[in-house]
């Protein structure tokens, strides 16, 4: 089992992405609201205000999608992200990492 962590910078494609996940057999995911460090420091820490223009092109808010999945689905997830996020045109470059899962504890 793997934990796939997707950092989605184009939040407008979230619904399309989740629909596409359903199609490849991913029936559950957790979606978290998140904010990039660049946005926080340039808006909230005065000495870094000069970097606002640097981060102006990026969305102030993004999403983190957590998926527990069988290992053989990881490549499919990646293909879906590539297709739905249109990575070639996406300047913010959404990305994914995967981590091994040792155990899952669940309330019965």
């Amino acid at each position: 089992m793997k934990l796939a962590v997707i950092f989605l910078n184009r939040i407008e494609v979230l619904e399309d992405l989740l629909s596409a996940f359903l199609e490849i057999g991913i029936s559950g995911a957790t979606v978290l609201d998140s904010v990039g460090m660049g946005h926080i420091i340039s808006e909230n820490i005065p000495i870094f205000a000069g970097l606002r223009n640097t981060f102006a092109g990026s969305s102030p808010h993004n999403k983190i999608i957590l998926i527990i999945t069988e290992e053989d689905l990881v490549e499919h997830i990646l293909e879906v992200i590539e297709e739905v996020c249109n990575q070639e045109e996406d300047q913010t470059k959404s990305f994914m990492i995967t981590l091994p899962i040792d155990k899952i504890f669940k309330n019965s």
Binding site: I47, F48, G50, L51, R52
Partner: protein, 155 residues
């Protein structure tokens, strides 16, 4: 990364002649430009004052860090001024500024800018160091204070 690595004795001014914010920024920038002829003067001055328009770099506790990202700059360049009289810098806490760090950054090296500003603002907001700096009488003394402080690894 350390202040002593980038700050040269020739770019330290103790008791500068300027008594207001703009003049002090100009004086310190001119000092830095003297020792960095590769940096375009007009670009540097414009970038420094554009940054100040956005928000004062007076970060509080008598410290200001005017800075700019400059195309013609190839590495971090620093100058430091100790103005005991204090200058109105429109600082965030409205206190007069006595310690001024002026920094040029290469335009494309955003990460270097982030690291340097974080380091300088962290170090200069330590009360103990500032008290020592305010007693310094010469550029050599200022540099020694930074070196000793950084050698003690206060982080």
């Amino acid at each position: 990364m350390s202040i002593a690595e980038y700050l040269k004795r020739e770019c330290i001014v103790v008791n500068p002649s300027s008594n207001d914010k703009d003049a002090l920024i100009k004086e310190l920038a001119e000092r830095l430009l003297e020792h960095h002829p590769e940096v375009d003067r007009a670009e540097a001055m414009e970038a420094l004052f554009e940054r100040e328009k956005l928000m004062s770099t007076g970060i509080g506790e008598g410290v200001a860090i005017p800075h700019a990202r400059i195309q013609s700059c190839s590495d971090v360049s620093m100058a430091f001024a100790l103005q005991r009289k204090g200058v109105d810098f429109n600082a965030l806490d409205s206190k007069p500024v006595k310690l001024v760090f002026l920094i040029f950054f290469p335009k494309e090296k955003v990460n270097l800018q982030l690291r340097t500003l974080a380091m300088v603002s962290r170090i200069l907001q330590r009360g103990g160091l500032n008290k020592s700096l305010l007693k310094a009488e010469s550029p050599e003394e200022v540099l020694d204070i930074f070196k000793k402080y950084e050698e003690a690894k206060h982080f």
